[in-house]
């Protein structure tokens, strides 16, 4: 029997290193570990949305490729009946249970995917520039604005891209692609320089 709390490793543990880099770097990279990520399926035309909002305190975004965020909880639109809840709180099991309870009476799926994604935060004045090296969709600041999200291929990795701020992005990627994506981002930063922030 192990008495100590079992060791956990984030998808990029040991890879998102070394922390540091020049301050004038065009971008900063960071692995955001320990978030609760919960996939939600349901019919937005029913009471589903209301239940989710009551539970999470965030309205379900129904416009494609938008998100809503309140106090550390974001809901990311993934499809007409699919969302990803992203919470800073790392007790995903408890959150899932609450969501299950709230939606129990409706056709729904609440699936804990906290380990099914690696999350990379990319920020800095050159963030859009280096993303545009591999992202075919329009990243112009007037077009892809804070609060928007989109899914697609960044180079050879399928990601969810969440514009979290003017020059700040969250990239959600399957853990098995995370090392590739990280390496790609570092490589793409060659001309602007990068800095790695602590996870």
């Amino acid at each position: 029997m192990a008495d100590a709390e079992p060791r956990t490793l984030s998808p990029l543990a040991g890879h998102a290193a070394p922390v540091g880099g020049p301050h004038h770097a065009g971008v900063a990279l960071r692995e955001a570990a320990g978030l609760s990520l919960i996939n939600l399926r349901g019919d937005a035309d029913t009471a589903f949305g209301g239940h989710i909002e009551k539970t999470l305190g965030v309205a379900l975004p129904t416009s494609p490729n938008t998100t809503s965020t309140v106090d550390g909880v974001s809901l990311i639109w993934l499809g007409p009946d699919e969302w990803l809840a992203v919470c800073d709180d790392n007790d995903s099991a408890a959150l899932c249970a609450k969501l299950e309870d709230a939606t129990a009476k409706l056709h729904h799926a609440v699936v804990d995917l906290s380990d099914n994604y690696a999350v990379i935060e990319l920020s800095g004045r050159s963030a859009r520039w280096i993303l545009a090296k591999g992202w075919p969709q329009d990243l112009h600041p007037a077009v892809f604005t804070p609060g928007q999200c989109s899914q697609g291929m960044l180079a050879h990795a399928q990601i969810i891209l969440h514009c979290a701020g003017e020059d700040a992005f969250r990239l959600f990627v399957r853990p098995s692609f995370a090392a590739y994506l990280w390496d790609w981002l570092v490589d793409a930063s060659a001309d602007v320089g990068h800095r790695i922030a602590a996870g």
Partner: protein
């Protein structure tokens, strides 16, 4: 690179999609009652229209939804995009409006 209009996500590069060939080919309700020739038709026989064509696309790298598109397979003009379950628009009407 064509822009395929996903009814939800809007126009995106065709590379984001998976192609599903002819639209509105339903799987027979009671397959055991279908003859070998009918089953062959369901499995393999598809229209190959050169011109405006109702076809299926899947937004693989986006919202993962199947939908239908009226696209000219020769000119690559796109006339309509609609969700599964919605009726097929009148192709003649669509293309006529364009010509007018």
């Amino acid at each position: 690179m064509q822009l395929i209009p996903c009814p939800w996500c809007g126009p995106r590069d065709d590379a984001e999609f998976h192609y599903g060939a002819e639209a509105h080919v339903a799987r027979p309700a009671v397959p055991s009652e279908r003859s070998d020739a009918e089953w062959e038709a369901y499995l393999y026989l598809r229209r190959n229209t050169k011109g405006p064509f109702a076809e299926r696309w899947l937004h693989t790298n986006g919202c993962r939804r199947w939908f239908n598109v009226i696209r000219d397979t020769y000119t690559h003009e796109i006339f309509a995009s609609y969700k599964p379950g919605e009726p097929m628009p009148d192709i003649d009407q669509l293309t006529a409006k364009k010509d007018a």
